[in-house]
C-alpha cells in the first residue's frame, strides 16, 4: 500500500508539529532565560525520521539515540513535561535532572541517548540480542548520525547485529556534517549504505524531507524486522536548519554555503506534511486546534518545569551503585580461609 489514511497523516503532522514547535520554543527560551543550563542539540529540520517513525513504535520497542534525541524521545511516547523538566535540571525530569539533554532517557518509555558518538548502535544491538534471547516481542531502533560511521565501534556493532540476526533497525541520519566537518574531509567513501552492506544486512537510503513517503518506507522495513527478518540499516538524508549545539545559529563559521542552506530550507518537511493532511481531509480548523493545543502543552510544560524542585545533591551521590543482588542470592558466606594452602606453586604458563 503506497498511501496513508487521514488519521495517520494527521497523527504524523501532530508529531512533526510537536517536535518542531517544542524545539523552536525551547531554543528561544534557552537563549532568553538561561534556565536550561546544559548543552542542547536541537533537531529543527531533522524532524522527518522521528516523525515518520512515531506511529510505528510499540511500548516494548526500545530506542538508543545519539544526543540529538528530543524528537525520538517524543516519538517514543515519553512525556513532554518530563523532558522539559529534565532540561531545566529538575527532580521531576525524566532522569531526575541528572542527564540534561545529552543523555536524555526515559526508563518506562525505553528511550535512551548519549553524547559519545558511536555508542548507540552497539548498545542497541545488545538490547536486541536480549529480545531475541528471551524470545520477547519488540524491536530496537539505534539512531546515529553520519559522523558515527567514522567510529570503529559502529562497525563492530553492525557486524555483531548481522551475525546474531537480531531485531535491530539502525537509522543513520545523514545531515552531511559531523558537527561542522563535511564528509569529504572525513572519508574517501561517498556512500554510507555501501559501507554497511558487506556486513550482510539489507540497506536503504531514504529521503528525510518527505515524511509521508518515509513513513511508508520505514513501515515496510519495520514490518520485516518484526517478522524475524533480521537487522536493517537505513540512511536518511536530512539537514539541520539550526546550529550544531546551543541556540545560536553557527552559520558564521562558514562550514556550509548560504545556497546549500536555502536549498534544503525550501524542502522543509513540515509545510508539505500540513498540506498533505489537508488534502487527505483533515480540516483547517482541526489543524489549527491541534496547533493551539501543542502551543498550550509546551507552555504548560515550561511553566511546570520552572516551578518544580531541583534534585538533592547528597542523595544524588548515593545512586551510583544499586548495591543489590538478584533474589537468587538469599545468604552470604564469608569464604574458605581455613582451607587455602598458601604454599602452593603459581601457575607455570604455556605459550598462550
Amino acid at each position: 500500500m503506497n498511501s496513508i489514511d487521514t488519521t495517520t497523516c494527521f497523527s504524523l503532522y501532530r508529531m512533526g508539529q510537536l517536535i518542531r514547535r517544542t524545539e523552536e520554543i525551547l531554543l528561544d527560551e534557552y537563549a532568553a532565560k538561561q534556565e536550561m543550563r546544559c548543552p542542547m542539540h536541537f533537531c529543527i529540520g531533522q524532524e522527518g525520521a522521528p516523525t515518520a517513525l512515531a506511529p510505528l513504535l510499540r511500548s516494548d520497542d526500545s530506542i538508543v539515540s545519539h544526543y540529538r534525541s528530543h524528537g525520538y524521545y517524543l516519538a517514543k511516547g515519553a512525556p513532554l513535561t518530563e523532558m522539559i523538566a529534565e532540561f531545566h535540571g529538575k527532580a521531576t525530569g525524566s532522569n531526575g535532572g541528572f542527564a540534561g539533554s545529552m543523555e536524555l532517557a526515559h526508563e518506562e518509555a525505553r528511550i535512551y541517548s548519549g553524547a559519545i558518538v558511536g555508542g548507540p548502535i552497539a548498545i542497541a544491538m545488545g538490547i536486541a540480542f536480549a529480545l531475541k534471547y528471551r524470545a520477547a516481542p519488540g524491536i530496537v531502533i539505534a539512531v546515529v548520525g553520519d559522523g558515527s560511521l567514522d567510529e570503529g565501534v559502529s562497525y563492530e556493532a553492525l557486524n555483531l547485529a548481522a551475525l546474531h540476526g537480531v531485531p535491530l533497525l539502525t537509522i543513520c541520519e545523514n545531515n552531511l556534517y559531523a558537527a561542522h566537518t563535511p564528509e569529504p574531509l572525513r572519508t574517501m567513501s561517498r556512500s554510507l549504505v555501501e559501507r554497511v552492506k558487506p556486513f550482510g544486512m539489507r540497506v536503504e537510503r531514504f529521503d528525510g524531507m518527505d515524511i509521508v513517503r518515509l513513513h511508508l518506507q520505514l513501515r515496510d522495513v519495520i514490518d520485516e524486522i518484526r517478522a524475524g527478518g533480521g537487522p536493517r540499516f537505513v540512511e536518511i538524508e536530512t539537514y539541520r536548519f539550526c546550529g550544531h549545539v546551543g541556540p545560536e545559529n553557527d552559520d558564521w563559521l562558514e562550514y556550509r554555503t548560504a545556497a546549500e542552506i536555502a536549498a534544503w530550507r525550501r524542502r522543509d518537511p513540515l509545510p508539505a506534511l500540513r498540506a498533505e493532511a489537508l488534502r487527505l481531509g483533515t480540516s483547517e480548523q482541526v489543524l489549527r486546534q491541534c496547533e493551539a493545543e501543542i502551543e498550550n502543552d509546551i507552555a504548560e510544560a515550561l511553566a511546570a518545569a520552572r516551578r518544580d524542585p531541583f534534585p538533592d545533591f547528597h542523595s544524588s551521590l548515593d545512586q551510583v551503585w544499586a548495591q543489590s543482588y538478584s533474589p537468587v542470592v538469599t545468604e552470604f558466606v564469608r569464604g574458605g580461609e581455613a582451607a587455602f594452602d598458601s604454599r602452593q606453586a603459581e601457575t607455570r604458563l604455556k605459550p598462550y
Binding site: G126, A128, A130, V320, V333
Partner: protein, 339 residues
C-alpha cells in the same frame, strides 16, 4: 579432604578444585540458577576452554548461552550493557586485561554512569571476567593489571579473588549483583587448589577477609599477592614477628573498615599490590589509613608493588619484576625496625 568453611553448615559437601575449576563451577551453577545468565567472549566455547574456566560449558548449556565472538572488545562490551538493559545477566570473558582496553570508553562513558544518569532507576547487572597474564615472557601487552584505573571510576565494582573458594563465591555474587562488575582473575593462581563447597554460594562483595590473625603488623594484599603475603607471614613468624594478613577481595567496594581495624591493632602497615606503584591501589589504601590513624601508627606505612615500568619478555627480567614473599618479609622487617 574436609575443610572448615566459615558460616557454611556441616551438611556442606566440599571438593578440591583448582582456581580455574572453581570458576568453571561458578559459571555452570550461575547458568543453572538463572536462564538469563549467558557467557561469551573470544574462545568461550573453544576446546582450549580458557585455561579450563569454560571447558565443557557449551556442551551443557548449548550455543545459545555459551558462544565465541569476533575480536571486537568494544562492541562486545556495549553488547553486554544492552543485554543487561534488556533483562539478561551477561558474562563477557577477556583472556587478557590488555585486550579489553578498547572497551574503556564503554565502561567509563556508558556502563559506569548508566545508573546515575537514569536517576538511580536502572540496574546494570553485567560481569566482565578479566584475566591477568604473568610469566613465560608475557611482556608489556599480555601482563598488565589496570584494576586501579577502573576502581577509580564511580559505578563499577572491581573484584579480585585470591583463592578457589573465594573465586567461586565471588563470581557467583558478581553475576547476581545488580551492578557492573570487573572480575579480575590472576592467571598465576589458576593452578592453586582448595576445598570448595559444591553447592552454589555467595560472598558479599566489599568484605575483606582476615586470612591470618596477628598483632605486630598488618599485611594488606589482594589477588595473586595474597599467597606470597601468607608465606611471608609464616617466615616472619619464625623470626618472632606476628603478622596479620588481610585479603581485600575487592577494590571497589573497598573494605577500609577492616583495614583500619587491623592497623589500629598492629600500628604497622604493608600493602602488597599486584600492579604498578604510582597512583595505585596501595597508595589509596595507605592514604585511607593515614587519614584515620596517621599519628597513632608506630612506623611509616610501606607498599610492595610492581616496579613502575613494564615487564620485559626475557626470563631474566620477568623473574625479577614480580615481588615475592621475600620482598614482603623485607618490607615488614623494615617497618618493624623503624620507629
Amino acid at each position: 579432604m574436609r575443610a572448615e568453611i566459615a558460616n557454611a553448615t556441616d551438611a556442606d559437601d566440599v571438593r578440591e578444585q583448582s582456581f580455574g575449576e572453581a570458576i568453571n563451577d561458578a559459571l555452570a551453577q550461575a547458568m543453572e540458577l538463572d536462564e538469563k545468565v549467558f557467557l561469551y567472549g573470544i574462545g568461550a566455547d573453544g576446546k582450549s576452554g580458557i585455561f579450563g574456566s569454560t571447558t565443557g560449558l557449551v556442551d551443557r548449556f548449548g550455543a545459545k548461552r555459551v558462544f565465541d565472538t569476533p575480536i571486537a572488545e568494544q562492541g562486545l562490551t556495549a553488547m553486554a550493557l544492552g543485554a543487561a538493559v534488556g533483562g539478561l545477566r551477561p558474562v563477557l570473558v577477556h583472556q587478557r586485561f590488555d585486550f579489553m582496553l578498547y572497551a574503556a570508553d564503554q565502561l567509563t562513558n556508558w556502563i559506569a554512569p548508566w545508573r546515575f544518569i537514569s536517576g538511580g532507576r536502572a540496574k546494570v547487572p553485567l560481569t566482565l571476567r578479566i584475566i591477568v597474564g604473568k610469566g613465560w615472557g608475557q611482556g608489556p601487552q599480555h601482563s598488565k593489571s589496570l584494576h586501579a584505573w577502573f576502581a577509580h571510576v564511580p559505578g563499577l565494582q572491581v573484584v579480585m579473588p585470591a583463592s578457589p573458594a573465594d573465586a567461586k563465591g565471588l563470581l557467583l555474587s558478581s553475576i547476581f549483583s545488580d551492578d557492573p562488575t570487573l572480575f579480575i582473575e590472576a592467571r598465576a593462581l589458576y593452578s592453586m587448589r582448595e576445598a570448595v563447597p559444591t553447592r552454589p554460594y555467595f560472598i558479599k562483595i566489599g568484605e575483606a577477609l582476615t586470612r591470618r590473625s596477628g598483632n605486630d603488623i598488618s599485611i594488606v594484599a589482594l589477588s595473586s599477592m595474597v599467597p606470597p603475603s601468607l608465606q611471608a607471614a609464616d617466615l616472619l613468624a619464625q623470626q618472632g614477628i606476628d603478622a596479620e594478613v588481610v585479603d581485600l577481595r575487592s577494590l571497589m567496594p573497598l573494605d577500609m573498615n577492616a583495614v583500619i581495624a587491623s592497623v589500629r591493632k598492629t600500628g604497622r602497615l604493608v600493602v602488597v599490590e599486584p600492579g604498578w606503584r604510582m597512583y595505585g591501589a596501595a597508595a589509596e589504601i595507605i592514604t585511607g589509613v593515614a587519614e584515620s590513624l596517621g599519628p597513632q601508627m608506630k612506623s611509616a606505612p610501606a607498599r610492595v608493588t610492581w616496579p613502575h615500568a613494564y615487564v620485559g619478555s626475557s626470563r631474566a627480567l620477568d623473574e625479577k619484576f614480580y615481588p615475592t614473599s621475600a620482598d614482603v618479609v623485607a618490607a615488614c622487617r623494615r617497618s618493624m625496625a623503624a620507629r
